[in-house]
Symmetry: C2
Subunit: 243 residues, 2 copies
């Protein structure tokens, strides 16, 4: 039987099987629980109380209206993410990161972002690079970032994510997003701090300039140094935030 073509014999079967995609299998309870718990954990201020924050499977299953099974699977996933840790026969505790861990994560972030910058200089389109400036178009000499810390902090995060996305590297995007989620728990206390905000904007613009100039080494260096600066800042001034 020499190559049965690809037609399946049925001559009346129109081969214009257009746009028929798999019907959306509404996400499972497991995934819903995962998303819900993840959001809840990220939203809470883990450092508000000195006692560790505990989760209770049964209470969660009641609150979410599902049985313990999908809850437990979601917990297992969150544990892989490093957001919680379950201690056998004791409970599920929301992980609190030490200052050293946060600094460490920011360093890894710096590594990944500098690689993203490197890639961007060789592959991204000029207009996409230039578009990065838009994130800061609401700020300038007459509207200083340090006077609108919260707003600038949002723009800051969005800028970094957009930048890394330009690398067109799914791995870099995913890894940095994961790190960001962990680091962001402190955003209101660190990333948006006034004294650092002042130097942040010029550094960002410098990064964009290097990218536009296709200066691989310089772009990489500026991206790295900028984020390493944040790491150093947290290391130096973050002690007050950790108990």
């Amino acid at each position: 039987m020499p190559e049965p073509k690809q037609s399946k014999a049925s001559p009346v079967m129109a081969d214009t099987d257009i746009a028929i995609v798999r019907i959306a299998p509404e996400t499972s309870f497991k995934n819903k629980a995962y998303e819900a718990l993840k959001e809840a954990i990220l939203k809470m201020d883990i450092y508000a109380t000195p006692e560790p924050v505990m989760l209770d499977e049964r209470a969660l299953s009641e609150r979410l209206g599902v049985s313990r099974t999908p809850i437990r699977e979601a917990i297992a996933m969150l544990e892989q993410d490093g957001f919680v840790k379950t201690v056998p026969r004791r409970g599920i505790v929301v992980v609190r990161r030490s200052k050293a861990e946060i600094v460490d994560m920011i360093r890894a972030w710096a590594a990944l972002e500098s690689m993203a910058a490197r890639l961007i200089t060789t592959t991204a389109r000029k207009k996409d690079i230039t578009a990065l400036r838009d994130f800061f178009k609401d700020f300038g000499p007459d509207r200083l970032p340090q006077d609108h810390v919260e707003e600038y902090s949002k723009a800051n995060i969005a800028f970094h994510q957009a930048l890394i996305a330009l690398s067109e590297s799914p791995v870099l995007v995913d890894l940095t997003n994961d790190l960001l989620l962990h680091v962001r728990g402190y955003r209101q206390l660190t990333i948006g701090r006034k004294d650092r905000t002042a130097t942040s904007l010029p550094e960002h613009l410098g990064m964009i300039e290097a990218l536009e100039a296709r200066d691989t080494e310089l772009a990489e260096k500026r991206a790295r140094d900028h984020t390493l600066g944040l790491a150093a800042y947290v290391e130096a001034h973050g002690h007050e935030l950790f108990t």
Copy 2:
């Protein structure tokens, strides 16, 4: 009640509660299943057959002698790792990485390792850096790596892991280990290839020299370029390995 001190009243209770760590709660079936499945997945050659490799919950639970519950939790964890993907009502499929994905992962690895190199130049002890040479003590002009590819490949991996560990950055260590696990699926086909092995050893020695010299920029550059070289190699010669 004014501050009941911290003593619990018992005066005979020695406060030298030394080195009493929580008794090992023999790892759960969930974790055992996770480890077992992970190892099995890493060991199998996913690219041997054109059809996707499927896993069956019930079959696994029977083979491992546990119920489906811990199996499912382990699967959920593996899915977070990106090793498998469960399709509702269809099955659990072992993820096959495309060449582009592997190259992407190696680039991220390069980013992390170059940051590790940077950190090492400022914190690691000289003797620990020098000790990195030991991984290659069995190779030299009279015993070329390309004549013992398998053995050199092992030393290669061990070297990189030891190097990154010297950074004393848990995040860098964990992230690179995760990436390594995914990339290593191709080790027998790519990392150990003769033509690349020849240039690998000198580059490694160059990295060590830069570290010993505490030349931060050079060490970072050499680490990055070395691993980016692997990425470029896989991108150029890897097509034959992916179906």
